[in-house]
């Protein structure tokens, strides 16, 4: 069973999915690291982005990869508006309130999608959907390779923003010491909203890379949200390196779990990791002890 010819393609496939997971988790960890809130609506927001890509393709024939310059800013704007308009106002200074509000938002978004699109699972057809590329003994679908490269590139851009730009400096300052940052003239509410926007923009990019090889239905976000939380918890809340490594790792675990245990039971591996990490090492692999 442990033949290289079977394991290798499975691991490669896991890595390609894992890169997209990592991108989704990066958005989540950025929001957590700076705002110290858990964005429960992350999966629902990904679902919205996937439908946006789907509609752009089916209504206007826009290729998913060419939809990037539309979907990414669109999701950014949505995130900025949600944070300033709803999440920030509802917090009343309590974290539990944000948890509840983002849960409420995710319920609304998912069920609006259910009302508008019914629960049908939809896919798109592109010229390259079925194209495969040989890598060693394995054949990998071209959209998955593009997703892998694209997700890594997007992650690199995100890291560049956070570590090299003025906005990134402000974000890190607010994350470390909110009041100090405020005294230095940083508009904290603006930085919060920018983080939320960037976090959702990551989802926009992830959606464009995912859809050619994936599907969309109203519940699609639910699967991703737990996977993304697992990655973020595994890598350490707020840790970028942790999200990247955790994402790739979880992608491989899911792929191998599916190989050995079958499609639905394979997911158990992810949740087992999630519960175990939460219980025994809640600071994650890369996080420092809180």
């Amino acid at each position: 069973m442990l033949e290289f010819g079977i394991l290798f393609p499975s691991v490669l496939n896991g890595l390609t999915t894992g890169a997209v997971y990592a991108l989704i988790a990066l958005g989540l960890t950025l929001i957590y690291g700076v705002l110290h809130i858990i964005n429960f609506a992350h999966g629902a927001a990904l679902m919205v982005a996937l439908y946006a890509v789907y509609l752009l393709k089916t209504q206007w024939g826009l290729d998913p990869y060419l939809a990037l310059p539309l979907v990414v800013p669109g999701m950014f704007a949505l995130g900025y508006a949600l944070q300033r308009g709803i999440v920030n106002r509802a917090s009343h200074g309590k974290d539990e309130n944000i948890l509840l509000v983002t849960l409420g938002l995710s319920i609304v978004l998912e069920n609006l999608a259910l009302m508008l699109f019914k629960s049908d699972t939809r896919t798109i057809e592109t010229a390259y959907t079925l194209t495969t590329v040989p890598i060693g003994p394995a054949f990998i679908a071209l959209p998955k390779l593009v997703a892998f490269a694209g997700a890594l590139a997007a992650s690199a851009i995100l890291l560049w923003i956070v570590t090299r730009t003025d906005l990134g400096r402000a974000i890190r300052a607010v994350a470390k010491e909110k009041h100090g940052a405020k005294l230095m003239g940083i508009d904290v509410d603006h930085v919060y909203a920018m983080c939320f926007g960037i976090g959702l923009a990551c989802l926009g990019a992830a959606a464009c890379f995912l859809l050619p090889a994936y599907y969309v239905n109203p519940q699609v976000g639910g699967g991703f949200v737990l996977v993304a939380f697992t990655i973020v918890v595994l890598g350490g809340m707020g840790s970028f390196a942790g999200a990247l490594v955790g994402g790739l790792l979880i992608g491989v675990v899911e792929s191998l779990g599916g190989l050995f245990l079958g499609e639905s039971l394979g997911q158990i591996g992810i949740f087992a990791i999630f519960i175990a990490v939460l219980l025994f090492r809640p600071q994650g692999l890369f996080g420092s002890k809180a």
Partner: protein, 320 residues
């Protein structure tokens, strides 16, 4: 305590009289489902409202109750009433298990919410994959109307059963308000370190709360099975029940005796009203639940039963 007992008795008498007087099946179904929603909300309130531990996966205990109720009858050949006792006990035990794991390692706030959600999801996947749960197809309870089978020809019988559970949940809540254990639980909710400093064991109090809360969710699950005679992994462990329980408690007012009753009733009325106005659209109910949750947290953080105080505060802030 005396006043709480009197109001609970009055509530039970009023619902009982209303049920006895009602003749229309539509209204009896409404009363039954409203009581069922109240049971969910009150169960969540014990842990979330009085214990301050927000579970996002209370469907876990509901689903365990429903599946035990079904499997004990179908495969164990047990009497429905015996199965009901078993369902409540198993759900409570699962609650203790999850509580022991999470609270032993000090999981709080968002982490606790996430771990309960993950447990519910694990059970959903297991229920899909295992054979004794009927897999994704689910389990069907054959129709055999008789009191011994906990299957009634009229809604009135079901209302009697669910009213019994709601009253029990209200009594437990009243006990939490006036007992030493309840005071310790609320102290842990408000400030765990301070509670520990005066000698309260946070682990044991939270464990007690989650066990009670889970047992009532299990009762709700078993009741669901008896009424609808069907359960599948999505209904049992999916997000719908978790959301209904938590939104009902929060909308009505967490940590109060009557808040969850009010919240469940208002939400149920709202859901029925929109169904009559817009027809049976899939998802519409949940859109309303989600929107009401967001609005309540934004504007009435104390829920409907604390509305007076919240409005007065908003008004004062507006003037000052």
């Amino acid at each position: 305590m005396g006043r709480d007992l009197a109001t609970i008795a009055a509530f039970a008498a009023a619902v009982g009289a209303l049920t006895w007087a009602l003749d229309s099946g539509v209204w009896l179904t409404f009363v039954m489902l409203a009581l069922y929603a109240t049971l969910l909300a009150q169960a969540w309130n014990i842990l979330g409202g009085y214990g301050g531990q927000f579970s996002f996966g209370h469907a876990l205990f509901f689903g365990c109750g429903a599946y035990v109720q079904a499997i004990a009858q179908l495969q164990g050949g047990l009497n429905a009433w015996v199965a009901l006792g078993l369902a409540v006990a198993v759900a409570g035990a699962v609650g203790s298990f999850v509580g022991a794991l999470s609270f032993r390692y000090g999981l709080k706030g968002s982490y606790f919410a996430l771990v309960t959600l993950a447990f519910a999801e694990v059970f959903r996947i297991l229920a899909v994959s295992a054979s004794f749960t009927g897999g994704g197809v689910g389990l069907m309870l054959p129709l055999q109307e008789s009191v011994a089978n906990l299957q009634f020809g009229s809604r009135k019988g079901y209302i009697g059963v669910v009213l019994g559970f709601v009253v029990a949940a209200l009594l437990v809540t009243a006990w939490l308000r006036h007992s030493r254990f309840g005071a310790q639980l609320q102290a842990v909710r408000d400030n765990e370190d301070a509670a520990r400093a005066v000698g309260v064991d946070p682990y044991r109090t939270k464990l007690g709360a989650i066990t009670l809360s889970a047992a009532f969710m299990g009762a709700a699950g078993a009741f669901y099975l008896q009424v609808f005679q069907y359960i599948d992994p999505g209904i049992a462990f999916g997000p719908h029940v978790s959301v209904e329980a938590l939104v009902g408690a929060i909308v009505g007012g967490m940590g109060t005796l009557w808040g969850p009753v009010l919240g469940a009733l208002v939400l149920h009325l709202l859901a029925d009203l929109t169904r009559n106005l817009f027809g049976q659209l899939p998802g519409l109910n949940m859109v309303i639940y989600g929107a009401v949750l967001v609005l309540i947290v934004m504007f009435l953080p104390r829920g409907l039963s604390g509305m007076g105080r919240s409005v007065r505060e908003l008004w004062r802030r507006g003037r000052g």
